[in-house]
């Protein structure tokens, strides 16, 4: 499948991580909890998926590490926080636009069940 958009589609894990970081920087566990909350508990990301995705996102410049610091709610361990970059925000916006277009098509074709109609 090809896309005409300059930003390639994101994997579900990358999309959820960017969405979680769009509201502020978070450490690994914080990202997991935000993803769980954003998806109403439907997406439960494990450490293997999270850090594998973060590695590729760091390489691609979608996120960056901020200084290590203590999370006052989590104890006295210093943690690495991750924040979304400009490139990451653009990629997220492009993905959301893609979703919006798909939803519009689905609405046009009356694909939504009555209970979910927007």
């Amino acid at each position: 499948m090809t896309t005409t958009n300059s930003t390639p589609p994101l994997t579900p894990a990358v999309f959820h991580i960017l969405l979680a970081l769009s509201s502020g920087e978070r450490h690994g566990y914080g990202i997991m909890k935000q993803v769980e909350s954003d998806s109403q508990g439907k997406v439960m990301m494990g450490p293997g998926t999270l850090y594998g995705s973060l590695k590729r996102m760091l390489d691609a410049g979608l996120v960056r590490e901020s200084d290590k610091r203590v999370d006052p709610e989590m104890g006295d361990e210093r943690r690495i926080y991750y924040e979304i970059t400009g490139v990451g925000a653009e990629a997220l916006a492009a993905e959301l636009e893609r979703y919006q277009r798909i939803v519009a098509i689905a609405q046009q074709r009356k694909l939504f069940p009555k209970t979910f109609s927007l």
């Binding site: 690994g28 566990y29 494990g46 293997g48």
Partner: protein, 185 residues
Amino acid sequence: MNEKTTAHALYRKLLTLYPRNFKEQFSESMEQTFNDLYNEQKRQADRGFFSFMFRIFVETALGIIKENILLLAQGNVMKNILTNLRSPSIISFILVFPFMFLELANRRNFHEGFPIALFGLMWLLPVVFILILMPMSRSLRTGNSIITNPIILLIRVVFLALIAWMWLGLLIDQMPCFLGVPNCD
């Protein structure tokens, strides 16, 4: 050792299977995240604790497999192999070159084809010899003992002796040809 310590020790062991760069960058954060998940699970209830542990370990193991496959696909391992092969290849070529020169110089009037297979073998044997020797010399350089596993050491020494014997045998056998003796075989 209590349950928490055991779980952490096992998870830490599992993380050592990640590729080196990945491990250096993320293993500390992954341990912290595992710790957070463990504490959360314990706070909620002991029910489903083993299925939770199983899920985390399997998910991390799949991540390890994925990262190692990606590393292989990137060609880093291949690059290391090629880098390791470069020095033995050059050393071996330097060793064989004088005999190639003798062959070309002394047999140019015999109208025979150049013995590529012979020189290929004469080049390959020292390459294998150096490749077997390299881990031993690396251990010695880093101050480690080379007799931690005597059986492997014995196998290596036998192979080294065999290769050296084959190479010297080949050289002695072919020396008259290199020196330009007519009708040599």
